[in-house]
């Protein structure tokens, strides 16, 4: 273990110390000088390290926000699930961008799920923005004698091949013809235009039964999210479905075709307000979801609650660290002081690692970090207990430091490896809070092994070399001591 005291190792320790001070502190100095907020990402601020802004990434439970786990359902058969997942993520990203949330997280989970994390957004709003499957469904009407209810007894809607995916644009405007009604102008691509042209021609040319001049077959109807299931249960659901979409129904516009429409342009004239027209246009514009999205897990944390949790955990962390330092100094005297310095080094370096990776700190993550402090202390305790034993058996202080570190190492290595195994597996298998806990404990244990074996060891050696180390009170050992190395 003697090589640990060589100058390259000491240089490494000093280097890491400077790095962690820089990482922990530089961000704050830059922020203070530029009068910017001390936490979180600041848009427009130049990057501080490797192209990133350095700051503690707070989990949603610490800053408030919503975490949704969405299941993709009702995917048309034959579609490649990976592609569907990618497309869905694209669409969700477009929609979320319109919310202006900083650092939204949108991750694929498994094959058919997506996790979305939005800071400062309520769950209801997040769901409304993401989950609105604004699928424009176009139907024609076919005669069906079984249909008794609905707006047109004797006719049932039939979904046409014209889908939302053929939309190239949608925008809300005041109707150019009468100027006081909001409408949505939609444009189809060439495929859609061809289908729409064919549909409108068929509707225009349809002959009504019994020689009537108007009948449902002359109509093309636009719905929002109408499903095949709705049509199967048409008799029971028609009354609800034909309500305007902003009153809980799905009807957008039901238009009688008075001439074939060949240009691929269409106008939706619901009873829109300026807001509802614009929102619908945004939804249609940001693309259609290939399937439906179902919220299977959601977590919402209010903003002040998150801030409150941060205050509490910080207080717990600082208090915990202080108690441990006081206890160590009281119990081990000078070595305890050395360990406390090593512990502060450890805390600073771990924090710097968290900022650089970056690790998103959650409440459970903070618990993991605080526990890793406990493990860091344990490594020191192992060394010091061993140190006392060696000194009591009559070895010089200098040699005792070496032997203690050497003898404590297998125990520190094996016990921490067991923790690394457990936390590593937890990180791989766990979900949200468990993952957050595992990553901080894992990194904390790695850093703590370094800090106890190298930092504590070197500091102890320095103290022993340069000071009046035989003073038994300072060393916390009651037997008389000799000076120097054996």
């Amino acid at each position: 273990m003697h090589y640990l005291l060589s100058w390259p190792v000491r240089l490494l320790v000093v280097g890491l110390l400077i790095l962690s001070i820089a990482v922990d502190g530089a961000g704050y100095i830059q922020r203070i000088l530029n009068h910017q907020p001390l936490t979180g990402q600041v848009s427009g601020m130049p990057p501080q390290l490797l192209g990133n802004q350095v700051y503690i990434h707070r989990g949603l439970d610490l800053q408030g926000g919503t975490d949704l786990l969405l299941q993709i359902t009702d995917v048309p058969p034959g579609r490649d699930m990976n592609q569907v997942q990618r497309d869905t993520i694209d669409v969700i990203s477009k929609r979320i961008n319109k919310l202006g949330v900083s650092e939204p997280v949108i991750n694929p989970v498994g094959r058919d799920r997506i996790e979305v994390q939005l800071a400062g957004v309520s769950a209801a709003k997040a769901q409304a923005t993401i989950g609105n499957t604004a699928r424009l469904v176009t139907t024609k009407w076919v005669a069906d004698a079984n249909v008794k209810g609905g707006p047109f007894p004797g006719s049932r809607p039939q979904i046409t091949p014209l889908t939302s995916e053929m939309l190239t644009g949608a925008d809300a405007s005041l109707d150019p013809q009468n100027g006081n009604q909001w409408v949505i102008n939609v444009t189809y691509n060439s495929q859609g235009a061809a289908i729409f042209s064919q549909l409108s021609t068929e509707a225009f040319n349809a002959t009504c039964p019994n020689g009537a001049t108007d009948c449902p077959q002359h109509r093309i109807t636009n719905w929002l999210n109408l499903t095949q299931d709705d049509i199967v249960h048409w008799d029971e659901r028609a009354a609800q479905l034909t309500l305007p979409f902003d009153q809980g129904g799905k009807l957008l516009v039901d238009a009688r075709i008075i001439q074939p429409i060949t240009g691929g342009q269409s106008q939706i004239t619901g009873n829109f307000t300026a807001d509802s027209a614009k929102n619908l246009a945004i939804l249609l514009n940001s693309g259609a979801l290939p399937g439906n999205l179902q919220v299977i897990q959601s977590t919402e944390v209010g903003a002040t609650l998150g801030a409150d949790s941060i205050k509490r955990s910080l207080a717990a962390g600082v208090l915990g660290l202080l108690i441990v330092i006081v206890f160590m100094i009281f119990f081990y005297r000078l070595p305890g002081l050395v360990a406390s310095v090593a512990l502060l080094f450890y805390a600073g370096l771990t924090l710097a690692v968290f900022k650089m990776i970056p690790v998103t700190l959650t409440l459970a993550g903070l618990a993991g970090f605080i526990l890793s402090v406990g493990m860091a202390v344990d490594a020191n305790v192992l060394i010091f207990e061993r140190f006392k034993e060696e000194v009591r058996s009559g070895v010089s202080v200098g040699a005792a430091v070496e032997t203690a570190v050497g003898r404590a190492w297998p125990a520190i290595r094996d016990s921490n490896t067991a923790t690394l195994i457990t936390t590593g597996l937890l990180y791989l298998a766990g979900n949200g809070p468990v993952k957050g806990f595992a990553i901080t404990l894992f990194l904390g244990v790695l850093v703590s092994m370094f800090s106890s074996i190298i930092v504590t060891h070197n500091l102890m050696a320095l103290v022993v070399e340069n000071h009046n180390a035989e003073h038994s009170f300072l060393m916390g050992v009651t037997l008389p001591l000799r000076r120097g190395r054996a």
Binding site: L68, A123, A128, G320, V324, R407, G432
Partner: protein, 335 residues
């Protein structure tokens, strides 16, 4: 082990112990922790058996992440009457229960509701009972299928961790007299001590949640996190003792004819490491106390689980793990 071959090490084979040329008397007859192992096993069983009975007959009080459902933490900005809150929740037809917390907070638990449905309940409570501070809301919803997956993946993780730890310990202790077989005895005993802590912890929580009907005995992801920490900590503690046994076995073998019996080595090692075990656990308990003071209501169950687990882990590492190893060696002697 390079450090054992140092001259200093040979001069002082067993720190703190008198080693004479005479056949060694049982070290520290006063503190024969290994000899009284049956007493310590009995104490453990006394706590674990009722817990296991409770687990088998009553099961667990499951939190929403393991059962599926919705949990709303609400804070009214004006005093709210519990009966009124309950009436509004009942009118929503969501299988809701209401629990009153401190400082005007309420916890409403229902079947799994999506955010839009959750918002309706909050809006209704807001308009019919008292204004709700929306910045203090916490809402969790977990679908039943997700809950099953969380449990399955957690159990798999624990199982995999147990196997890996067993293999790792067998590997690390394979140089002990007896080779890999001895290695597996060390690893197996550490695992048994770990099972002791897990059963004790889950048993006590089963009793708290289902027999005493206390919410703090709820099994949720935070409890899972705590249990896994305990697993890590317990193995950590046990390994420190085992490591000392490994070291002392080597030193004792150098004494030739006067070497200590396995039992004596184990007892000595426990005594030598006990101070460290207790000091470390004590510092962790200090940190936990800080967490308990500041952590807030949601963390109380978590801190309690850690407290029980770490006490149990310390106990099992001193009073059970090595004793199990001694029993195992008697049943299946090496060399």
């Amino acid at each position: 082990m390079a450090e054992l071959s140092r001259p200093g090490a040979a001069r002082r084979p067993l720190s703190g112990e008198e080693v004479t040329g005479e056949p060694v008397a049982t070290p520290s007859r006063r503190l024969d922790i290994v000899g009284r192992r049956n007493v310590f096993f009995a104490i453990s069983l006394l706590i674990i058996v009722p817990g296991i009975i409770s687990m088998l007959t009553r099961g667990f009080l499951l939190g929403i992440d393991f059962q599926g459902g919705t949990e709303l933490f609400l804070k009214f900005s004006q005093p709210a009457n519990q009966a009124q809150v309950e009436a509004v929740v009942a009118s929503e037809n969501v299988n809701g229960t209401v629990q009153k917390g401190a400082n005007g907070t309420y916890i409403v638990r229902t079947r799994a509701l999506d955010p839009a449905q959750q918002k309706k309940i909050v809006d209704d409570l807001d308009s019919k009972v008292a204004p709700i501070d929306r910045s203090q809301i916490q809402a969790n919803q977990v679908g039943p299928s997700v809950a099953r997956e969380i449990v399955t993946s957690a159990l798999l993780a624990v199982l995999a961790a147990a196997i890996l730890i067993l293999l790792y310990l067998a590997f690390r202790f394979r140089r002990v007299r007896g080779g890999w077989r001895a290695g597996f005895q060390f690893g197996g005993s550490a695992l048994l001590a770990l099972l002791h802590d897990v059963f004790l912890l889950t048993g006590i929580f089963s009793i708290l949640g289902k027999v005493l009907n206390l919410r703090i005995g709820e099994i949720d992801s935070l409890f899972l996190t705590a249990a896994l920490t305990v697993v890590g900590f317990s193995v950590h503690d046990t390994i420190v003792v085992f490591d000392r046994i490994r070291e002392n076995l080597v030193l004792s073998d150098r004494l030739g004819a006067s070497r200590l019996t396995f039992e004596q080595v184990v007892n000595l090692s426990i005594l030598q490491t006990a101070a460290r075990s207790i000091i470390t656990s004590f510092t962790v308990l200090l940190v936990l106390a800080a967490l308990l003071l500041f952590g807030g209501q949601t963390l109380q169950g978590f801190v309690l689980a850690l407290l029980i687990g770490i006490l149990s882990g310390t106990y099992s590492s001193i009073f059970n793990a090595s004793q199990l190893l001694v029993v195992w060696r008697k049943v299946q002697p090496v060399r």
